[in-house]
Structures are given as structure tokens and as C-alpha cells.
Amino acid sequence: MDRKISFQQAINEALAQEMERDSRVIVMGEDVAGGSGTDGKMDAWGGVLGVTKGLWDKFGDRVMDTPITESAFVGAAIGAATTGLRPVVELMFVDFMGVCFDQIFNQAAKFRYMFGGKAVTPLVVRTMYGAGFRAAAQHSQCLYPLFTHIPGLKCAIPSTPYDAKGLLIQAIRDNDPVIFFEHKLLYSVQGEVPEEPYAIPFGEARFIREGSDVTIVTLGRMVHIVSEAADTLAAEGCSCEVIDLRTTSPLDEDSILGSTEKTGRLVVVDEASPRCNMATDISALVAQRAFASLKAPIRMVTPPHTPVPFSDVLEDLYIPDARKVADAAREVVGYKA
């Protein structure tokens, strides 16, 4: 386990290994092979940020460039999934998902249920999310709560290269449609990743650190922000237990409740807009099921309810940072009834 690779390489490796293992696995999306309709070199791009680069060389036509028509190629992938393939479709930015909501929400998510369990839809939609990339309001949203809301979809939101590889392999082997969220700012993060393929089961959160004063539940890129805050707090003598959800659907309720019952205090840190996000959902869960163990009100750290600003200064202000997380933790730990 000495080898370190980036988050981006981990995703590429998961795709390559599963394509190697199972000939039914195909990759589709805009520029995933290298720029359709041009006379240029194939495999020049590998997706807008190069995540699928190299796959076309190894697997040829199983890596397909599509037109810029999300409703068409996501629909095609869903059809392929129900008829025997295991497509991994790249939908560049989650912000564009709106144009193919019917295919995802009302078709892919419903088939197993509507056909009495006789149909499976082994589809993965890989998509980029998140702010901090100076990409403005239409390319920076954290829309995983929308997909978590829909029964029949599974949502994976890895924070480390190790989890990215294992969760993506699980997503590909899963018989249900999985939306797989990749934060743009995590692609260069390095971490230890085994060379062998492995699958991480969905619905099991990861404990980033154990502590006794406050539970901080978070996910995705915010895991790194919270870890930074927890280091600061540890130096002040405040012991944080940090939980990385890894998947929001299914959700590891046991780990959230068990930890909150132990510490008696909860902060939820979520990069998604504050109405109906993971922070409100988890706060409601704990308020309903672990209220008696709470020693202080629950605190949520989220962006404000506005579009992601384009101005660098405002965007930095918009995204939850370690200082805001540490302030929230100090507030609940210092709370006097």
C-alpha cells in the first residue's frame, strides 16, 4: 500500500480495471475519447479535464464520444443498461443534469420498481460538482441533494483517491443507477491506493478521526476543510469526531447516530445550498432519533442561499472554510443551556 496516485488517476484506474474485467462496461460522454467530429488525434482529451484519457487506446470503440445532447446520450446509456451493458456515462458538469432529468429521475430510477424487480439498470453517471474553480454559477453547484432525494438512485461522493477507486468500482458492479460525484478541486489530491481492484460497499461512512467533544459530519471536498478545522481545534483541546459519509444514498444512519450519542454535539458541514441539503437532512435525523443525547443545538455550516458568485473574493467567502467550521464547533462545545 505504498503507492500514491491522484484522485483523477484513481478514477481512471477504476474504469480501466472494470473495462478489463467485464466486457459489458462501456464509457460514453462528451470528448471522453478525444473530440468527436474532428480530424484531430483520438484520445487527445479524455474528457474536459482528462479523467478518461488513455481508455480509448486500450478499449477502442467501447469509449464513445457523444454529441452535446445530454438527454440523448444519457437516455441511450439507460437503454443500454436495461438491455445488458454496464455503461459509465460522463455528464461533464452536474449543473447540466437538468436537461436529462426525465431520463434519470423518471426512467432510470423507476425501472426496478415499475417492473416489479424484473428490470435492472446498472448505470453510472459520473459528474463534476462544486465551487472554488472560478467557473461561475452555472458550473459550480453541489446538486447531490437533488439526486439523494429520489428513491431508486444511489449517490456516491468520494473525498479521497482510495474511496474514489473503491466506490466507482462498486458503482459499476451495482445493479442500480448510481450518480457518482467528483469535485473539481479534488482531482489532484494524492493518496495511497492499492493497485488491485476493490469495491467499497455503499452505506458505510468513514471515520476520519475519533473524538469525544463534538461530531462533525461532512462529505466530498468539505472533508478536507473539516480535517483542517479539526487540527486547529485539537490544538485548543477540543476533540472532534469527523465522519465522511462517502454515500448519501444509502446513508449510514448508524454511524451518525452512534457518534452523536457518544459526543452529544453535532455540526454538519455541507457545500450544497442550505435549503433541503444533506445538513438539513442529517440534522432532522439526529433531532428525531438522538434528541435526548444532545447537549447543545445542532449547527449547520453551509454556503448562503445564493448562486455561486463569479467574483473570486465572493466565491471564497461563499464556500465554507475551516474557520467557519471551527467557529461552529466552538459554539456547540461552549454552549450553556
Binding site: P194, P197, E204, E210, D254
Partner: protein, 376 residues
């Protein structure tokens, strides 16, 4: 000149750079005997007590609960009651002034494992220490070379100590063939050949003990001595629920109750230990390899291979160490063994006795090597 003894952070495990102080068992000002447990230290595997390096008064505690102390950093000071406070203070100031923490890079370099090709398989090992004679540590079923986290470094002051990942385990190839003990024995032989090691002292834990016995019987000229820790192959009973539970567990809550059975004190098991085992078990092919191996040594709820009758034929000194509270392989297997084996039973320890009572086990092993042939 009056002697002042520092209590410092040990280096348990190859990649350990710092340890976290747990509960203090002793208090400042207490008289302590050499070898008594003073404080718990938390590593990335389990909690382990730290023992007094010398007798005296625990004059100063410098690290409180939850403090992180770098390896070789000062935790406490033990000295005779007659040593004046000023001398203790001067000692601490001097120690801190001289102290240079190990660089993270050095720790990483030292921890790196080596791969060697043996019969078409890649076997992973770590070597610590240098010496004329060599030792091979063989872990048990589902374990890896980290099973010797608290032993390899400590035993390496005069010998070259090799810890191997068996096939199907750790960093070695995950494919097994027949999964029989004989296959492992041939891997061990091939491993020693490839490193040019003609003869080694063998230390085996659990299934690794049975492999060591079979190796010593098959190649008596290549084993200088044998230490069998909670060894398989010495009786019929085995907790098959553990074996099956360990193989099939996919999640923390399934694996935790199984791993807890390995220790007398369940609270020693950290979340990190569980995560590390899960990381191994999740790899493609591991589950089926473990199943193949288990089906060879475990049949109809019992151990399939009992080597007890063959122990008297061992041509080299042999010793048995067992935890009295072993829940996987009962301590009764350490009783009524042939007289050529020395037997030590450690109270308050479970199946992973070499982790749970590391200092005692290290002392017993070093003592056995010394007694069995002067100096190993």
C-alpha cells in the same frame, strides 16, 4: 553519579512516527518497579501499555493523556528519590535540547516493503536489523507482516529479522493455488532461497506456527529454532465461527465482533485496525483465497491437520507461547506437549498475544534464543 532514566516513546511498527498518550496507570511520585505498566500508548493499531524501563520513583510526567509524542520523545522521568529536583530539571532541559525527531521521510523509507518473485508469485517482506543470523516471522490466517508490529523492531538489535506476507495476504500475490500448508511451506523455502538464507530461526503465529512446524520437519537443516505462538496444528478445536465471520465480513460492524475475539481486552481494538483489515479483505480475490486456505486447515468445525505427534521429532530447540484467554485456539493446546518444547502461558492475553503482551513475548523469545544456543 546518580542515574536518571527517561521513559521515551517506543517505535512500534515501521511507519510509526508518533504515539498518542492514553490513560496513565501510574502517578507522579509513585515508586515503580522495572517492568510494571506505567501508561497506555495508542498507535495506529491497538492500545499498548508502556513499561517502566527501570525501578525508581516516577519523578516527572511530561506527556498527558491525548498528547502526541514523537518516536523517542520524552514521556516521563524515573529516578531515585534522592536525586534532587534541580538535576531532574537539568536532565529534561538537556534531553529536549538534544532531541531530534525522526524525519517523516526517514520513517517512510524505513517502512517500505520489498517484493521478491518466488515460483511465479510476488511475496512481500520487510527486513529490520542486521546480524550473522536471521529470523523469519510468519503471521497467521488473515494477518500480515504487521502482526509483528510490536516485535520485529524490538527483536532486531542483534539479528536480521524478516517478516513475510504469506501468499493471499498483505502485499503478496492474492492468488493461492491449493491453499495447503505445504504450499506455504514451499513458498517459505523459495523465499529463503531467493534471499540466500540457508538457515533461520522461525517464529510462527497461529497458522504461521503450523507452517513453521511443517517447514522444520521437511527441512530440518534450515531451521535453527522454532517459536510457536498460539500455534495451529496442536489440537483439534478452533473457533470456526471466527474463521467464517472473518472471511465473510464486508463492513465494520460485521468485522468488529470477530476481531475483538483476537484480544483478551476488547477495547484494544482500534477503528484503524478494523479499517486496515477491511482494506485487505475488499481486494478482489482475497475472499476466495481465504476461503480456499480455510477449507484446507479447517474441516467439519475442527482443525484438519494435527502435528502434535510429530513435535518430538523436531531436531531443533522449540518453544511454545500462548495467551491464557485465547478464544480462537484454546490454551489447552499448549498442555501435555513433548518435553523437548518449553511452554509459556501468559495470563490476561488472547490469541494475538504477541501484540497484547508484546514486551513479555519479546523477552521470552530473546531469552529462548539465548538459552537454546548461547547467542542466536
Amino acid at each position: 553519579m546518580r542515574v536518571i532514566h527517561p521513559l521515551t516513546m517506543p517505535k512500534w511498527g515501521l511507519s510509526m512516527a508518533e504515539g498518542k498518550i492514553g490513560d496513565w496507570i501510574a502517578q507522579e511520585g509513585m515508586s515503580v518497579e522495572s517492568g510494571v505498566e506505567l501508561v497506555e500508548v495508542e498507535t495506529d493499531k491497538i492500545l499498548s501499555p508502556l513499561e517502566a524501563p527501570a525501578s525508581g520513583v516516577l519523578r516527572r510526567i511530561l506527556a498527558r493523556k491525548n498528547d502526541l509524542v514523537p518516536v523517542a520523545g520524552l514521556i516521563a522521568v524515573i529516578a531515585d528519590a534522592t536525586v534532587p529536583d534541580e538535576e531532574i530539571d537539568a536532565f529534561i532541559v538537556d534531553f529536549k535540547a538534544r532531541f531530534v525527531p525522526e524525519q517523516t521521510g526517514q520513517a517512510d523509507a524505513a517502512s517500505s516493503t520489498i517484493q521478491v518473485q518466488v515460483g511465479g508469485q510476488s511475496l512481500c517482506y520487510v527486513k529490520r536489523g542486521e546480524g550473522e543470523e536471521a529470523v523469519l516471522l510468519i503471521h497467521g490466517f488473515g494477518g500480515d507482516l504487521k502482526s509483528w508490529l510490536f516485535n520485529q523492531e524490538a527483536l532486531a538489535d542483534q539479528l536480521a529479522i524478516y517478516a513475510l506476507d504469506l501468499r493471499g495476504h498483505g502485499g503478496s500475490s492474492k492468488q493461492v493455488g491449493s491453499g495447503t500448508l505445504d504450499e506455504f511451506v514451499e513458498d517459505v523455502r523459495g523465499f529463503l532461497d531467493s534471499l540466500g538464507l540457508q538457515k533461520v530461526h522461525l517464529v510462527g503465529h497461529s497458522m504461521g506456527g503450523a507452517i513453521a512446524i511443517k517447514f522444520a520437519l521437511a527441512y530440518p537443516a534450515r531451521a535453527s529454532s522454532l517459536v510457536l505462538i498460539a500455534s495451529a496444528g496442536l489440537g483439534s478445536e478452533i473457533d470456526v465461527e471466527y474463521i467464517e465471520g472473518f472471511i465473510s465480513a464486508q463492513r465494520r460492524k460485521e468485522l468488529l465482533p470477530q476481531i475483538e475475539k483476537l484480544f483478551a481486552d476488547r477495547k484494544l481494538v482500534t477503528r484503524q485496525l478494523i479499517e486496515d483489515v477491511l482494506k485487505f479483505k475488499r481486494l478482489d480475490g482475497v475472499e476466495s483465497s481465504l476461503r480456499t486456505i480455510a477449507s484446507q486447515f479447517c474441516m467439519d468445525g475442527h482443525q484438519a491437520l494435527i502435528l502434535r505427534d510429530q513435535l518430538s521429532a523436531l531436531a531443533m530447540p522449540a518453544s511454545v507461547i500462548w495467551g491464557a484467554e485465547d478464544r480462537i485456539l484454546p490454551v489447552s493446546h499448549a498442555r501435555d506437549l513433548p518435553r523437548n518444547l518449553t511452554v509459556q502461558v501468559l495470563s490476561g492475553s488472547g490469541h494475538m498475544v504477541q501484540m497484547e503482551a508484546a514486551t513479555k513475548v519479546n523477552r521470552l523469545i530473546a531469552g529462548f534464543w539465548r538459552e537454546s544456543q548461547g547467542q542466536p
